[in-house]
């Protein structure tokens, strides 16, 4: 490297500025009276936060924050705002009817909670060291070079298994929101609305060139995840972002909710994860217990399935719930 190194003072100044900026965007996002502005500020907040994660020495989290926390959540929020606008939803101004009293009644406890939290966390004395040493000692047995990936897909794979199921469950729950007429699997359930934006030649030109590149980046994130920051979730978020781009530029229709291949792809991640765990048992080991010689291959191939399957789930979430069959009005709830 060069002779230019950051002095401690410069790092502190940088961190301080970053923290103030993050807090400011969060404050603006929480208090802005305009919904769209609040959402955009939230995305900016997420991107700044990704920088903070880098400063904290957590590049994996930084990638996830940028791709999932800011990127994908931002896309979801904006999609929903668009939907609410199209439906002419009544949006009372956010400050109307909010007395000062109420603001204090909510704000004061929140501030106290934050203050107490800061106090406890700052005065925290570590009594027993964490497991970083153990991770380092046993990382070789997983064949994976990135300690975070080793924790996620081997040491604590039970957490990750359930987390993959949570993503699938979000899709299942979202799809079950269609008012039920002749069945969730009936041919009359219509896919979520496709956006029909005015044709934008420049945007289309750009998206056509960006999409393959972004797919490449996603694949790279999956591949590199075993040895460097990255992994299946980040890759899936990039794939879903490509879909969102195609969607806003009018190049891609919404996924058909009844297409069986698509549903199979969505459940593939969870099913593969569970089956891998059971297969280890059948081989005389513990549930999810990967043998050392195979660990690397199993983790990388499982991550490939996860990346594809999670991407399908996230795409479905971006597109939203299917619409009810035409002509049948949503039935009102029975008591």
């Amino acid at each position: 490297m060069s002779t230019l190194a950051m002095s401690p003072l410069a790092t502190t100044a940088f961190d301080g500025t970053l923290a103030v900026l993050i807090a400011w965007t969060a404050w603006q996002s929480v208090t802005s009276s305009e919904v769209f502005r609040a959402v955009v500020l939230f995305v900016v907040f997420g991107l700044l936060l990704a920088l903070a994660w880098l400063r904290l020495g957590a590049p994996d989290v930084a990638l996830a924050e940028a791709a999932v926390g800011a990127g994908l959540t931002g896309v979801l929020l904006l999609e929903s705002l668009g939907h609410l606008r199209r439906n002419k939803t009544v949006e009372p101004p956010e400050t109307a009817g909010r007395g000062r009293l109420r603001r204090w009644a909510v704000g004061l406890p929140a501030a106290v909670a934050g203050g107490l939290l800061a106090m406890v966390a700052l005065r925290l004395e570590p009594r027993t060291p964490g497991i970083a040493g153990l991770v380092e000692r046993h990382q070789g047995e997983t064949g994976v070079g990135n300690p975070v990936t080793a924790v996620l897909l081997d040491f604590r794979s039970a957490d990750t298994l359930l987390e993959v199921v949570v993503v699938l469950l979000a899709v299942i729950a979202t799809y079950s929101l269609v008012p039920h007429g002749p069945g969730l699997y009936g041919p009359t359930v219509r896919p979520p609305a496709t956006l029909r934006p005015p044709r934008q030649p420049v945007l289309i030109w750009f998206v056509r060139r960006l999409a393959p590149l972004a797919l490449l980046v996603g694949a790279y994130l999956w591949w590199v995840g075993s040895s460097a920051p990255g992994g299946a979730f980040q890759a899936a978020a990039v794939f879903a972002a490509v879909y969102a781009l195609l969607r806003v530029s009018g190049l891609e229709a919404a996924p058909p909710p009844n297409a069986r291949p698509l549903r199979l792809l969505m459940v593939a991640g969870s099913v593969a994860f569970v089956c891998q765990g059971l297969a280890m048992m059948a081989a005389g080991r513990a549930f999810l217990d990967l043998p050392e010689a195979w660990a690397y291959g199993l983790i990388v191939s499982l991550e490939a399935v996860l990346a594809a399957s999670l991407a399908a789930c996230l795409i479905a979430l971006v597109a939203g719930a299917p619409r009810p069959p035409r002509l049948s009005r949503p039935q009102r709830e029975l008591p």
Partner: protein
């Protein structure tokens, strides 16, 4: 009887894997195959619980290192008698509810609803089984999130998005508090495993704050007073089989986690006695407030939902009893017994309510006149399960309350006994209200109006649950390891 050593790990893994795989399958295929699969898996899950219970009776509490990595590096499951029986009972309740749901949901709104119900219920079952066995605070967080998301999805099935959203928001905020506690515990004590934490936690601000955060989190998720506000609208508006699962089983999930923290980690902080009195007081308020609200309701399902708030209050009242040496054993046994018997009884009552809704199209108490005449078995189910809520002998609720009374007198805390007795009296009033309407004859009888048909299996599913709630009065929970 002695089990082969491999049987227990298989039973535990399958209790998680089968519901998840079946849930995934039911998302891809529908129809009769899926219905049979769902029911079969619920029964198998229950059987797995029985196998686990046999294994525990045989070889004591079992710890399974997942992924082959022992804590603190990896995650372990701990399978004790409580977890094993919880798996068994939950599987049974799910089976009964699925039998009911296949018919009642379709009577309500055509084919689609039961198809949407199945995958949600199965993933919920898998999540609950993982919750019972988890022995790692963060793993518990993930299972809690899984359970909450599935439960919110079930509430939303009825179309009341506002109630579902409120549930979701409270659940997320509770989860945040809980996760914050996990992070603090790890930073201070270097592990997330409950057994290891029990040995490492020392009194002090960090442990106290972490546990306070986690307890507030699970109280929000478990609708424990005063964070119960989301429960009555959510459980009251959900379709009846969903309410049966939510009120019967899911509502206990929060308290189950609270109890695990309470028994393993809390004693080491030195704050247990003070916290116990606070939580007990909140529980007493829940009993009073929930019961009084239940009495005021005009709809059967909302009445039952408020009754759940009250019954969860008893569980919190058990905490100050468990915290004393004299009341520990019977207090704990009473709480566990109450969880089990209330789970069956409340599920039975919601299913019975669902049967009435399926034929009458509503559950307004004032218009339930003549229900007992038309559907005697369903009315009988309501009454039988109501006995457990009141704590009348020989129901499971009676044993539970007896144990709790015993614990409060033994530990010299008579005021909790007063709460328990007073709550039972109020429970008597609202159960009477629920049942008496159906018993009364409609004016202008006898008419030639044919009672609307009610499929047999709806009535039997509810009755089976009520009978189990009653049968729990014949066993004692004191011997569970």
């Amino acid at each position: 009887m002695s089990l082969a050593p491999q049987v227990l790990p298989w039973a535990a893994a399958l209790a998680l894997a089968l519901p998840l795989l079946a849930g995934a399958a039911c998302f891809v295929v529908g129809g009769r195959t899926a219905a049979a699969l769902a029911l079969g898996v619920a029964v198998l899950s229950s059987a797995a619980g029985l196998v686990l219970a046999a294994g525990v009776a045989d070889g004591g509490v079992q710890r399974l290192a997942l992924g082959g990595w022992a804590p603190p590096l990896g995650i372990a499951w701990r399978i004790d008698g409580v977890a094993a029986l919880a798996v068994a009972l939950t599987g049974f309740i799910f089976a009964a509810v699925l039998v009911h749901a296949e018919k009642s949901l379709d009577l309500l709104r055509g084919e689609g609803l039961s198809e949407a119900f199945r995958p949600l219920a199965l993933v919920l079952l898998g999540g609950l089984n993982a919750l019972y066995m988890a022995n790692d605070v963060f793993n518990l967080y993930v299972t809690l999130e899984l359970v909450t998301l599935a439960a919110v999805g079930m509430v939303a099935l009825a179309g009341d998005s506002a109630a579902a959203l409120r549930y979701l928001l409270v659940g997320v905020i509770g989860a945040l508090a809980y996760m914050l506690g996990c992070g603090l515990l790890y930073a201070a004590f270097g592990t997330l495993d409950l057994d290891l934490l029990a040995g490492r936690v020392q009194p002090g601000g960090t442990a106290g704050a972490a546990l306070a955060l986690m307890i507030v989190g699970v109280m929000a998720k478990g609708a424990l007073f005063p964070l119960h506000g989301w429960l009555p609208p959510a459980h009251g508006s959900a379709v009846a089989p969903a309410s049966a699962l939510l009120s019967g089983v899911v509502a206990k999930g929060g308290f189950y986690v609270l109890l695990r923290l309470w028994l393993d980690v809390f004693p080491a902080t030195g704050a247990a006695p003070a916290a116990a009195q606070i939580l007990g007081t909140l529980g007493a308020l829940a009993v009073l407030w929930g019961s009084l609200q239940a009495i005021r309701q005009t709809r059967l399902k909302v009445l039952l939902a408020y009754s759940t708030v009250a019954q969860l209050g008893y569980l919190m009242v058990s905490l100050p009893l468990i915290a004393t040496a004299a009341g520990h054993a019977s207090g704990l046994a009473g709480a566990l017994h109450l969880m089990a018997s209330h789970a069956c009884a409340k599920a039975a009552m919601f299913l019975a309510a669902g049967s009435l809704i399926a034929t009458r199209g509503h559950d307004c108490l004032a218009d339930l006149k003549g229900a007992a005449h038309d559907h005697p078995m369903t009315a009988f189910t309501l009454g039988l399960a109501g006995m457990t809520l009141m704590g009348l002998p020989p129901s499971g609720g009676f044993i539970a309350k007896w144990l709790l009374l015993d614990a409060s007198l033994r530990s010299g805390q008579w005021w909790w006994a007063a709460v328990i007795l007073g709550g039972s009296l109020l429970a008597g009033v609202y159960v009477f209200l629920a049942v008496s309407w159906s018993m009364s004859r409609p004016p202008g009888e006898p008419s030639d109006s044919q009672p609307p048909p009610l499929p047999r299996r709806l009535e039997f599913a509810a009755l089976a649950l009520a009978l189990v709630a009653m049968a729990l009065g014949l066993v004692s929970a004191e011997r569970i390891p």
